[in-house]
């Protein structure tokens, strides 16, 4: 069981900054994210794009913003459960919470802060009617263990970086690799596109374009897929079908936690501390809603800051505390590090 003071669901910019504000109050944080890396939308959707409305940063790449946030919170030693989705929550008699992920990892904390953004990032599934019957029986949306494709016939669908990169990678492992895409052009890094061209010319990747997989064929497990190219429909024999169409956010299991939901977001008390209808559970950043809500990074930072003050009072109801400027109080890390403003040098003039 992982124990912490504030359990943060979602490691996007809002969740990451909450670690800093909590750290100033000597509260420890642990973050859960469905993605394998921190950064939320900034790292998953637009890491290479500039943002212009972060106060005091005239321009910053979304990926650099995340790197900087990670650097800023390093001294507060946050824990991470990555690549797992927070699935269930249970309130114990002492008003603390246990959050369990889809992989069974349990987390225990007196405060839960949901910073889930637009939701947990899940694979986009193509609208093939019977595809659900074959999930984990030859249809995979994420490649977890490339070894399982050794000596197998694999069909990959998609036109972005992950479809290109995995097609290239699997040529050395699988018996055959077929890549199906709706257009002749691919939207990926130029050298991946060139590499696929090279492997195609060498007969190591079969490219079927412009075409689409419209059906999965099999009997309990995948035996092939139906491919449609123009008016022609044909069967392509395979052991695995891997649709790689990127990820999209889904609010998912959090919607069933008994929280008040409106417009696909969690209703919070914005006049006070961004607490939800369940005391002890807060919602900050893109995932919450209140009158006048704006889904902006700077608003998430503000909400995270107020949430931490309220969390402190919940955890230590009897302790007095007043907010201190970092310039005055410095930043004392849990790793023993200390940053503080240099003291003025006093020197007499004779």
């Amino acid at each position: 069981m992982i124990k912490t003071d504030i359990l943060i669901i979602g490691a996007g910019p809002t969740g990451l900054f909450a670690v800093f504000e909590a750290g100033l109050l000597k509260l420890k944080c642990h973050l859960i994210d469905a993605l394998p890396q921190p950064g939320g939308q900034c790292s998953e959707i637009y890491p290479k794009k500039p943002i212009y409305d972060i106060p005091a940063f005239p321009e910053v790449l979304a990926g650099d913003l995340v790197d900087n946030l990670m650097k800023q919170i390093e001294a507060f030693q946050p824990g991470f459960t990555l690549g797992e989705r927070a699935q269930t929550i249970e309130k114990l008699e002492d008003d603390t919470f246990i959050v369990t992920t889809n992989k069974g990892t349990k987390h225990h904390a007196p405060v839960v802060a949901i910073a889930g953004g637009l939701g947990s990032f899940e694979p986009r599934k193509p609208p093939i009617t019977n595809i659900g019957d074959y999930e984990d029986h030859g249809v995979e949306y994420i490649i977890r263990d490339p070894e399982m494709y050794r000596g197998k016939k694999v069909v990959i669908a998609g036109g972005g970086d992950s479809a290109l990169d995995w097609s290239i990678f699997l040529t050395d492992i699988a018996e055959s690799v077929t890549l199906v895409h709706r257009r002749n052009e691919f939207r990926g890094a130029l050298d991946s596109v060139d590499k696929v061209q090279e492997l195609k010319d060498a007969g190591k990747i079969e490219l079927i374009t412009p075409a689409e997989v419209i059906d999965v064929v099999g009997n309990g497990k995948v035996e092939g897929v139906s491919v449609k190219r123009g008016a022609e429909v044909f069967n392509k024999e395979c052991d695995h079908f891997i649709p790689l169409f990127g990820l999209a956010p889904k609010l998912g299991p959090i919607a069933d936690w008994g929280l008040e939901i409106e417009k696909n977001a969690i209703v919070v008390n914005n006049a006070l501390d961004y607490q939800t209808n369940i005391p002890g559970i807060y919602a900050i950043g893109d995932v919450n809603t209140y009158p006048g809500k704006l889904k902006l990074i700077l608003c998430g930072f503000h909400e995270a800051t107020l949430m931490c003050q309220s969390a402190y009072k919940r955890i230590f109801p009897d302790k007095r505390y007043v907010m201190k400027y970092t310039t005055v109080g410095g930043v004392e890390g849990f790793d023993g590090s200390k940053k503080e403003a240099p003291k003025a040098v006093i020197k007499a003039i004779n």
Binding site: Y46, L118, R182, E185, F245, A248, K263, A265, T289
Partner: protein, 109 residues
């Protein structure tokens, strides 16, 4: 002209006749959101960068629309439920040329 009229059928099949300003640098996806014709969180996920296809719609009138740019073409090639008349709402800017445009929102993926 400052405002144009649009005929939009939402994902539930309800038709809305709405007014959209031509002088606010808005795109079709933003107009749809401003009238709340699709629930928040189900449209405009990428903010209008042709990176998510949540704003896909089917154009049903024969307006002469601007050509698809590279990003729109590429995204539609990876979107689902795509038809001949599919466009990304976020790539269509509100101008006089869109007056009386008729369209239906594509289903949520």
């Amino acid at each position: 002209m400052q405002d144009i009229t649009l005929h939009i059928t939402d994902r539930e099949g309800v038709e809305h006749n709405i007014q959209a300003p031509t002088d606010m640098n808005m795109n079709l996806m933003e107009v749809i959101r401003s009238y709340e014709l699709a629930p928040e969180g189900t449209i405009g996920i990428c903010g209008g960068m042709a990176m998510c296809a949540s704003c896909q719609c089917y154009i049903e009138s024969d307006h002469d629309l601007p050509e698809q740019n590279y990003d729109e073409e590429a995204m539609l090639a990876e979107a689902f439920h795509v038809k001949e008349n599919s466009r990304l709402g976020c790539q269509l800017f509100i101008s006089d040329a869109l007056h009386e445009l008729k369209l239906t929102l594509a289903p949520e993926e």
